[in-house]
């Protein structure tokens, strides 16, 4: 823990220096607050208007979490399905990549037209953003099984299901987690974008309202909230990964 703290001081120092520079610049050059508010004002707004944005924040967290969960499950299911059915995989793989070429900004208003202002179009956007990194990472992980282990399992008479459960799935876990981490970071962005396009609650809404009334300080509060949320989400997944793939860190040791 102390070691991590010692290693972590560099980025923290750079960040603090940056904030200090920002603060000093906005004072020296007398930059108007609506153009670029100083960090001190952002912090002050962040604390004083907690009651204003708290419902927005919780709504976004709920939306992100739900969308992420659905997206992750969908991505994993898709990966497993395509892994087990190679012919379907060949047919669907190009479509999968194409799905990521749809500009979300364009798609979102259409989704609102089709599905209204409820949760459904928002969830669709988050799922669309989230499933892809997970699906690709999981498929790669499932495919990259050590041929020697595979050979052993087959010689021992393991069925396809046993090979999947006992070999391919645990083998793919580290790879899957890489995908999940990327998705976790994306999912917050996805949620905010979906809120921009029509919602009555959420950080995205708070942000649009703030920017249209030139409350730049609030815009920055929203930006930092989004960053914090992404980071928090990422750390949670990281923690889960460490618990589920603890064997990876135990190399050397007992024998030496």
């Amino acid at each position: 823990m102390t070691q991590r703290f010692i290693r972590g001081w560099r980025p923290v120092a750079v960040l603090l220096l940056f904030i200090l520079l920002w603060e000093l610049c906005s004072r020296w050059f007398d930059i108007p607050e609506w153009l670029l508010p100083p960090p001190s004002l952002i912090l002050e707004t962040g604390i004083s208007s907690w009651a204003d944005y708290a419902p927005h924040l919780f709504s976004t967290i709920r939306l992100t979490f739900l969308g992420f969960m659905i997206g992750a499950c969908f991505g994993l299911l898709l990966a497993v399905l395509l892994h087990l059915l190679p012919s379907v995989r060949e047919a669907l793989y190009p479509l999968l990549i194409l799905s990521q070429n749809i500009p979300i900004i364009v798609l979102a208003p259409l989704l609102v037209i089709w599905f209204g202002f409820g949760a459904l179009p928002k969830l669709i956007i988050i799922v669309l953003v989230c499933f892809f990194p997970i699906a690709i990472a999981a498929m790669d992980g499932l495919r990259q099984t050590n041929p020697e282990w595979m050979h052993y399992m087959k010689m021992s008479g393991a069925t396809k299901g046993q090979i999947f459960r006992k070999l391919e799935w645990p083998n793919a876990l580290p790879s899957i987690f890489s995908g999940v981490k990327i998705s976790a970071a994306y999912s917050v962005m996805g949620a905010v974008i979906s809120e921009w396009l029509g919602a009555n609650k959420g950080i995205g809404v708070y942000m649009t309202l703030a920017s249209s009334s030139f409350r730049t300080d609030r815009v920055f509060v929203a930006i930092f909230l989004i960053m914090g949320l992404s980071l928090l989400f990422f750390l949670l997944i990281n923690l889960l990964e460490k618990r589920m793939t603890s064997w990876q860190r135990k190399g050397g040791g007992v024998h030496e």
Partner: protein, 245 residues
């Protein structure tokens, strides 16, 4: 009673014949080695017995039952230990029995102890040395319920000292837990030291060149390898192999 009968096996891949009319058998509780030059089709023979492929012609019988092309009828120990890195040693050694039936953890713990791996039950494979991994791998094949164990050059990746150590260890464990063993190797000394019988395969296509019955009494110790009698056997088998090269 014959544990394993291999009857007139022929197998070819892409028009090149790998195995041609290979026949031999293994008695109950017998230790038989297959000796042949590298790439002589020893592995193919194993894959056929393991049921990964079907032979072009010929049959395989285990315990008098025809098992040609059936998987899961033998217990297998591969060349590399093939322990799964996310399983502890205990979880790894029960893997093969897990595939066939409910694993018996207490028996596994007992076996780990006998194998000299006590204290490593809950360690991960990355924490073990090469020889220890091979021990775990062999225990895994012993814990599997099938009575015929096929070992595919299990010690070929080990250094000379570890290898001699492992050969004695293998014999001591095998004496206690008697199974029929089919052992593939390209090391003449190893074959003589371990086996009741040595079957020499010819090169491409592989045929049974000659069978030697090794008369040394058991238990055997590594000092045996330095006796005149042992060297005589080594010379004879070596000359048989030399004809092939």
């Amino acid at each position: 009673m014959n544990k394993l009968v291999v009857d007139q096996l022929t197998k070819s891949f892409d028009s090149s014949i790998i195995l041609q009319n290979v026949s031999f058998s293994i008695q109950d509780g017998e230790f038989v080695s297959i000796l042949g030059p590298s790439g002589s089709g020893k592995s193919t023979l194993f894959h056929l017995i393991g049921g990964l492929y079907r032979p072009d012609s010929g049959e395989i019988y285990i315990n008098g039952e025809r098992t040609t092309g059936e998987k899961g009828r033998i217990s297998y120990m591969p060349q590399s230990p093939s322990l799964l890195p996310w399983r502890t040693i205990l979880e790894n050694v029960v893997l093969s029995s897990e595939i066939i039936e409910q694993p018996n953890k207490s028996e596994a713990l007992n076996m780990i102890q006998q194998a000299g791996l006590e204290g490593y039950e809950h360690a991960y494979p990355a924490q073990l040395s090469g020889g220890m991994k091979q021990r775990a791998s062999f225990i895994r094949s012993l814990l599997s319920p099938q009575s015929l164990i096929c070992l595919d050059e299990p010690f070929s990746a080990l250094d000379e000292f570890t290898r001699m150590d492992m050969q004695e260890w293998l014999l001591s464990i095998w004496t206690e837990h008697r199974r029929s063993i089919l052992f593939v190797t390209h090391n003449i000394e190893e074959a003589i030291f371990l086996s009741d019988r040595v079957i020499v395969l010819s090169d491409r296509p592989a045929k049974v060149q000659r069978e030697f019955t090794i008369p040394f009494a058991r238990p055997r110790h590594s000092s045996l390898m330095l006796t005149r009698e042992f060297l005589k056997w080594k010379k004879e088998i070596f000359e048989e192999l030399k004809v092939l090269v």
